[in-house]
């Protein structure tokens, strides 16, 4: 199996504001988000980062997408270092999270073209991708409607197609189904399977057990910024229910739930 994403001992510490310090009962003024996190994802599979809120999933994915920098360690996406070659990394990934918003003022068609150009695609390539992706997600019917006038589900579909406009080899989705209705969530999970079928490598973060069980080939359980367990779904669960296994691991790592 070919390695596609490798995180090596990644550390990330956030400085807390005075207000946050009080809320977190912290005396040091620092919060360790990632405490030497390492994992490897292989080509052509779906890797799931599972963990509670605040475990460091989003931080790790933001480091992989080069939006933020690691304080220690390094990560490689398709052989490129996120710290040394951020532009090359960004060119090879599609990153989707509910935090990445589209400008309300523009239409999906305009934004698709705009982001296509930023990814260095030619007008013909953009038109071809549009012809493929817009009908696939039913965006045709609202391609000329301003994003501000679209429903949450429609917006998510537009964000999804824009994130993969350049047909990236690696796809990073942060909480891909969060806040979506069941229909749109289904469209997203079906599409992830389809991408896997095309040989893409996918990494998703989630706290939804069923999503991991349904989709992921391998899973890494993050607790408190550290990898608590990693392996194929079968290796991690040992045939038991993932939710039960998770709480066992969590108890061991943190104490009581």
């Amino acid at each position: 199996m070919q390695e596609i994403i490798r995180a090596e001992n990644v550390r990330k510490v956030f400085r807390l504001s005075a207000k946050q310090r009080k809320l977190e009962h912290s005396t040091t003024g620092k919060k360790v988000a990632l405490d030497g996190l390492s994992f490897t994802a292989y080509e052509g599979e779906i890797y799931g980062l599972l963990g509670p809120n605040g475990a460091g999933k989003t931080t790790m994915l933001r480091i992989l997408s080069t939006l933020i920098r690691a304080d220690g360690g390094d990560a490689y996406v398709a052989g490129k270092s996120v710290t040394r070659e951020p532009e090359a990394v960004r060119a090879s990934i599609g990153f989707l999270t509910s935090e990445l918003k589209l400008e309300d003022f523009f239409t999906p068609a305009y934004l698709f073209e705009f982001f296509g150009r930023l990814h260095g695609l030619s007008a013909e390539q953009i038109a071809a991708r549009k012809g493929e992706l817009f009908p696939r997600f039913g965006i045709d019917s609202f391609a000329e409607v301003k994003v501000g006038d679209l429903s949450t589900g429609m917006k998510q579909k537009v964000s999804l197609v824009i994130s993969i406009i350049h047909d990236p080899a690696v796809i990073i989705f942060d909480e891909p189904t969060n806040g979506l209705d069941v229909l749109t969530a289904r469209v997203v999970t079906d599409f992830l399977r389809e991408l896997k079928g095309q040989g893409k490598s996918i990494i998703v973060s989630t706290h939804i057990f069923s999503l991991v069980e349904k989709l992921c080939d391998r899973v890494g359980i993050i607790i408190g910024g550290k990898m608590a367990a990693e392996g194929t779904l079968a290796e991690v669960t040992g045939g038991e229910d993932l939710e039960e296994v998770f709480f066992e691991i969590y108890k061991k790592a943190v104490g009581e739930v």
Binding site: E87, E99, L118, S159, S163
Partner: protein, 387 residues
């Protein structure tokens, strides 16, 4: 390079396709300034205005002093009154029906003919007015200035500029000097308000709405994004400033009583190029500064709040040319101040190529530095994700 153009095109599309933005930033400033200045001009310089003045013990010699020159309309309408009515006239002045009351000595004609009388024995002319009424004040100043001037020429030790003497400045220089004090301030203010209209929205707004992160996950370099933003915002700010200018120029004749043609013709083509260069560097400086403040801010509202102290500083610097001008080379290294000084020099026809060159180079260095800072800020997660 392509990415920079893509960003610029998007920023233009964002602006020019939004009717409200175009109306609010490009059309309204010019129209409002034109209306405001025209209104102010017609209030302050109403040449049609005439005053009603009642005169007790009037004499033809007195009214003759106010005879208008040929072709002009008389500004004062004199009405004779008797000494017994003095109190009722004063009431009318307070009511605003009459502008002033002049009580002349009974023998005013003889006094004019007789010449100098030593101070203690000099007869008194009473002028009653009410400072609560603007027209009453104007009538008073007109009356007293004419009477003063007449009194000065009658048997004084010497006169100033009565038979000879005068201002040697050409009309062109006088106009130039006038604009040198006013225009740098107006230009800076217009440029600043243009920037205020677009930069916080484009940087803090994108941050607030989470759309900037979407841009940052594309392969675009942070520096390309920053340059694209600054170039497009500068163009839009400059357009907004130009709109304000057109409004100002069109209303100038009303406001100042001067012609635009006279003023525009006083400057050479070279001065216009130099002016364009200085304004370009000023707009880039201001856009970069407001962009940095906007990147620090968490919301558009905060960015606007941050920009207000900077606006006060920039406007004070703009006012500096009204108080003093300096040709010292050291001043050319102070950003914004150097723009004001060079603009003042251009407008007062004292353009120095060396100062201009130093200003342009110094500002170019500052702009590169500010772009670099903004690039570093866009690389910082505290700036991009700071909540």
């Amino acid at each position: 390079m392509n990415n920079i153009l893509t960003i610029i095109r998007k920023e233009f599309a964002r602006f020019f396709r939004d009717k409200r933005l175009v109306l609010g930033t490009l059309i309204l400033p010019g129209v409002l300034i034109f209306l405001l200045y025209t209104l102010m001009g017609s209030v302050f310089f109403d040449s049609e205005e005439s005053y009603t003045v009642k005169v007790i013990h009037s004499s033809p010699e007195f009214t003759a002093l106010f005879t208008p020159e040929e072709g002009e309309k008389s500004q004062i309408v004199f009405e004779e009154a008797s000494a017994a009515d003095a109190d009722s006239i004063k009431e009318e002045i307070r009511a605003g029906n009459v502008d002033a009351l002049v009580v002349l000595p009974e023998n005013f004609g003889d006094i004019l003919a007789g010449g100098f009388v030593p101070a203690p024995m000099a007869p008194n002319i009473e002028i009653w007015f009410d400072s609560a009424h603007t027209s009453s004040v104007s009538a008073y100043s007109l009356l007293s200035s004419v009477l003063d001037a007449v009194e000065d020429t009658l048997g004084s030790l010497y006169n100033i500029n009565v038979t000879a003497g005068g201002n040697l400045s050409t009309a062109q220089e006088a106009t130039a000097n006038y604009y040198a004090t006013l225009l740098p301030f107006l230009i800076l203010t217009f440029l600043y308000s243009g920037c205020m209209g677009v930069a916080p929205e484009s940087i803090a707004g994108e941050k607030e709405r989470g759309t900037i992160a979407t841009l940052l996950v594309t392969p675009i370099r942070r520096s390309q994004l920053v340059i694209g933003k600054i170039v497009s915002l500068s163009c839009i700010s400059a357009l907004s400033a130009i709109s304000s200018f057109i409004g100002t120029f069109l209303s100038m004749p009303k406001l100042m009583g001067g012609g635009i043609g006279d003023m525009l013709a006083s400057y050479s083509v070279g001065s216009y190029f130099a002016l364009f260069g200085v304004m370009l560097s000023a707009v880039l400086l201001i856009v970069s500064l407001i962009s940095i403040l906007s990147a620090l801010a968490k919301s558009v509202k905060e960015a606007t709040t941050f920009s207000v102290p900077l606006m006060i500083v920039v406007m004070l610097v703009g006012l500096s040319s009204m108080m003093f001008t300096t040709s010292s080379l050291g001043a050319c290294f102070i950003p914004v101040f150097n723009c004001v000084q060079v603009m003042a020099a251009i407008f007062s026809l004292k353009f120095s190529a060396v100062n201009f060159a130093v200003t342009m180079v110094a500002n170019a260095v500052y702009i590169v530095l500010l772009v670099w800072i903004l690039t570093k800020m866009f690389e910082s997660e505290r700036v991009v994700f700071g909540k």
